[in-house]
């Protein structure tokens, strides 16, 4: 599997390759955050609102906390929320898709109706209400996001299973007495896995944006220094519109978010095109 992926990467277009590099860099930054951040990310390490340069490569915020350190640690939050949500949603959605597609009948009907509704419902108001009542924590945010994301892998898996069920090799395996679990492991999972894996990248992009939005409102986890939270503090600073502080305080977390989200989108687009040539365009 892994070798196949590496071979595939060579077929990436230029933006795709660039995006992959960007994500790898973000991953490295997130993992190495304590070693490359120079200054602490949660306590003051210099005069407030220092422009970039000198000891602080990206300047400092209103409390004198180094921005580069905050961005390094923010990458951890974003990636954790993104991949945590995607993993949960893919597992849950995948399971539901398999049940729905393989069993058919009334469980399928009920689940499909549920999916139709979940797609329509706006997720942000729900997240705000839950954050208001249960207190915002990263775990809560991941759980709610997963609750709203499982529908996409579920749909993909279901349609794939429906298609596979009719294939002659599955039929013949069944006549030879293959059980449900055998079919699952030997035939369904290997076929379905690449599609779900590709979808996970898209889901993590969505989750990262959603977390940033919630933090921007000031409803994210206040203990995690996420990029959205930096933007929240910056935009709530009284004189931000009339001074030059936004040129580093707001700009760098903004850039980090945009670059991360667009890179994820480009990678998933590229992979979608490869896994299923009809889906890409």
């Amino acid at each position: 599997m892994l070798v196949k992926i590496v071979e595939r990467v060579k077929e990436f277009s230029l933006p795709g390759k660039a995006s992959l590099v960007v994500i790898l860099v973000f991953l490295l930054v997130a993992i190495l955050a304590p070693y490359i951040s120079i200054h602490p990310h949660n306590i003051s390490s210099g005069p407030p609102l220092l422009p970039p340069g000198g000891g602080h490569p990206l300047g400092t915020d209103e409390l004198g906390i180094d921005l580069w350190a905050q961005i390094c640690y923010g990458a951890r939050v974003s990636l954790l929320v993104g991949f945590g949500t995607a993993l949960l949603a893919a597992l849950g959605g995948g399971l539901i898709g398999i049940v729905s597609g393989y069993l058919g009948g009334w469980p399928d009907k009920v689940l499909m109706r549920l999916i139709d509704i979940m797609i329509i419902l706006p997720d942000l108001p729900v997240m705000i209400v839950l954050a208001a009542f249960f207190g915002p924590s990263l775990l809560n945010i991941i759980l709610v996001l997963a609750l709203f994301s499982w529908v996409f892998p579920a749909r993909i898996v279901r349609s794939q299973i429906l298609m596979l069920k009719e294939r002659s090799y599955i039929k013949s395996a069944e006549t030879y007495g293959a059980g449900v679990w055998y079919l699952m492991w030997k035939h369904f999972l290997p076929e379905v896995f690449p599609l779900v894996a590709v979808n996970m990248i898209r889901l993590s992009g969505r989750a990262i944006v959603a977390e940033a939005g919630l933090s921007f409102l000031g409803l994210g986890d206040p203990t995690s220094k996420s990029w959205g939270l930096i933007i929240h503090h910056a935009t709530n600073f009284k004189g931000i519109y009339y001074t030059d502080f936004w040129k580093w305080w707001l700009l760098y977390p903004w850039l980090a978010l945009i670059i991360m989200v667009i890179s994820l989108a480009f990678i998933s687009r590229e992979l979608e095109r490869m896994v299923d040539p009809r889906m890409g365009r």
């Binding site: 509704i117 329509i120 209400v129 839950l130 954050a131 208001a132 939005g213 936004w246 989200v261």
Partner: protein, 324 residues
Amino acid sequence: MEYLFTIWVIVTLNFLLPRAMPGDPFLYLSADEGQEMARFSEEQRQYYLEYYGLDRPVAAQYLSYLSDLLRGNLGYSLYYNEPVSTIILRRLPWTTFLVIAAVLLSTVFGTILGSMSAWYREKWPDKFLFFCLILLSEVPAFLLGLVLLFTFAAGLGLFPLSGAITHFASYSSWWEKLLDILHHAFLPVMALTIARVGGMYLLSRNSMTTVLEKDYLRTAWAKGLPKKRIIFRHALRNAMLPIVTRVFLSLGSLVGGAILVENVFAYPGLGHLMREAVMVHDYPLVQGIFLVVTICVLLANFLADLVYRKLDPRIGDYSGIHGG
């Protein structure tokens, strides 16, 4: 049917949430800000429990909650000292205005650009548009809003920084007021529109490409019909159906975007109000907004279903043949 069921589930969840909340809601209601904890004697406590109806069985509380809702009573906002429904009704038009304007503009521009792309497929205008709009479609609306705010409002001073109308202004005529409102709404609507136009573009490009390859279009060309007529009467009309569906399906995410964008521009709609309500722990108001927003989105989709059945005769009536 399923819409009614969903609304019931949401309403019930809304009822259960404060009761599942960790901690004693009683303390939240009675403690003042800054005060660590309100101290009440057992008698006072009993009195307030009775006053809020919290001493009755949960089923009875649920029933009275439902009957209150049906009469449009969403509770009382402790912070604003007004009924929740009154506050929401005052703010709702602003949000509706933003959302509808963004839907219309993004659909129109998305369809035009998508059709152009499909027309020049694989030539440079298509490739250029495709790349630009894919990039745009991934940028969330509130991040776009921040850019617009800092360049056009704060930097160039072309637009107001916040609000929906100029406070304490007196207008000599109604169109002057309208102009003021549009001036304030321009940037928020732009942010929402730009963030959405990419999605609509991709969809209409796909839809248009499929339609352009259909046999009836070849017939139209062969008949020597004018180009304009072919594009608008024959191609676009048929390509519109999936676009209309998508408009309503993605309404939920657009509302989410509007909530964030309102907060970027301090636009006095429901999204801005919701955040304020959370910040001051005004739980009845938070719940009221949540209910209203969700039910509005569901209703819009329900209406869309009805309209869609009318537009596409193939999925028209249940009794007939299920085509397509």
